[in-house]
Amino acid sequence: MGADQYDEMITHLKGVYPYEGCGLLLGKGDRVSTVRGVENRRQERANDRYEIDPRDILRIEKEASREGLDIIGFFHSHPDHPDRPSEFDRERAWPEYRYIIVSVHNGSDVSARSWVLSGENGTFQEEELTIEG
């Protein structure tokens, strides 16, 4: 993904700290060209759970099709927790989509890793997250 997209994602996630932030990754193949941060719809346990509003999905789906892009994945933050998928993340994940998990410590220290669910055994495999430019 580009540095601009990365920064936009991080800014969104820092902005909602100490709650979990989330959003969608648009692009083609494994290349993210647009990030869209959305509101975490979760009222309870919003510090360690996220849920995306179907209205946001619809809006972003339309935008993606207008731009000739696909929804290729999702990102969310783990406030004050590591950038590894939780068991809950694994249960909710879909094969073939990319999940970028961003750890946000104290609202400022960040680290990000990208994960793909393996269809065969249902475990997350890390893939290299490359920031360009």
Partner: protein, 274 residues
């Protein structure tokens, strides 16, 4: 398409699934399904197709609701006894989801009416309770090139599969070339059927039909899913297209619809759906 606020709420659990999303939900709303029989299998199929927002649903059934149906035919209720099943089903569906347009056909399917009836629908579900209808539906689906999701049950056993002979996959006649002789197999009325089994099989048919509409996941076509409720065991058995099949084989002998009622007068059979 543009969803209303009510539709976004109603289908929100679909829309947030990446495999469905707004695009898939729009496909469902623009799709149509034809359900043969508003009985044991048709009831749960219809309820879930309607809940999912399949935009147009056709229902054919010539029977009226009877008290002995209510042990398994959950789209009907006590107040509907004596009412035509298709009308009863229509009322339940309209109360469940006003997005769905329901077309009812309070008649028996025959060689004369079936092709015209099913032609307008994207996908067909067979929950019929007798062999003549099951063969008629299979043949008509083949001639009209429609995918047919078939369910059947008997006592504690159920089966589900999808027929797509127009895509080179087997049809019902590849499995069973001809209806069994009259009286060979008992009907539900004679043999009984576990009511909740109808739910398992009818819902599997709905799941399969919805996947076909969405074009997602693996189709059951070419496989027969067999459920044994007593052993609580699912088995998936490969079924192959029969090159000698009289209908979809290389040298077909069936070139038009056949009415089996006269040759085979069984009212209900092993493939009980009602």
């Amino acid at each position: 398409m543009n969803f209303t606020e009510e539709q976004i709420e109603r289908y929100s659990r679909h829309i947030i699934l990446p495999e469905v999303g707004g695009t898939g939900q729009a496909k469902l709303l623009e799709s149509s399904a034809f359900v043969l029989g508003a009985g044991g299998l048709g009831s749960p199929s219809l309820l879930y197709l309607a809940a999912a927002g399949v935009g147009t649903i056709g229902i054919v059934d010539a029977d009226c609701v009877d008290l002995s149906n209510l042990q398994r035919q959950i789209i009907h209720n006590n107040q509907k006894i004596g009412m035509a099943k298709v009308e009863s089903a229509r009322e339940t569906i309209e109360a469940l989801n006003p997005d769905v347009k329901v077309n009812v056909y309070n008649e028996r399917l025959t060689a004369d009416n079936i092709r015209e009836l099913i032609r307008d629908y994207d996908i067909l579900l067979d929950g019929s309770d007798n062999f003549p209808t099951r063969f008629l539906m299979n043949d008509a689906a083949f001639f009209e090139k429609r995918t047919l999701v078939s369910g059947s049950m008997f006592r504690f056993d159920g089966q589900v599969t999808t027929f797509k002979p127009h895509e080179g996959l087997p049809c019902y006649r590849c499995l069973y070339p001809e209806p069994p002789p009259k009286g060979l197999v008992p009907s539900c009325q004679e043999a009984g059927v576990l009511g909740a089994l109808a739910g398992v099989i009818g819902v599997l048919q709905a799941v399969e039909a919805i996947k076909e509409i969405l074009g997602t996941g693996d189709s059951l076509a070419g496989n027969l899913l067999v459920f044994d409720a007593l052993k609580m065991n699912f088995r998936k058995v490969k079924v192959r297209r029969d090159p000698e099949c009289n209908l979809c084989g290389e040298n077909p002998t069936i070139n038009e619809l056949i009415t089996y009622e006269e040759a085979c007068e069984i009212q209900a059979a092993r493939s009980e759906g009602g």
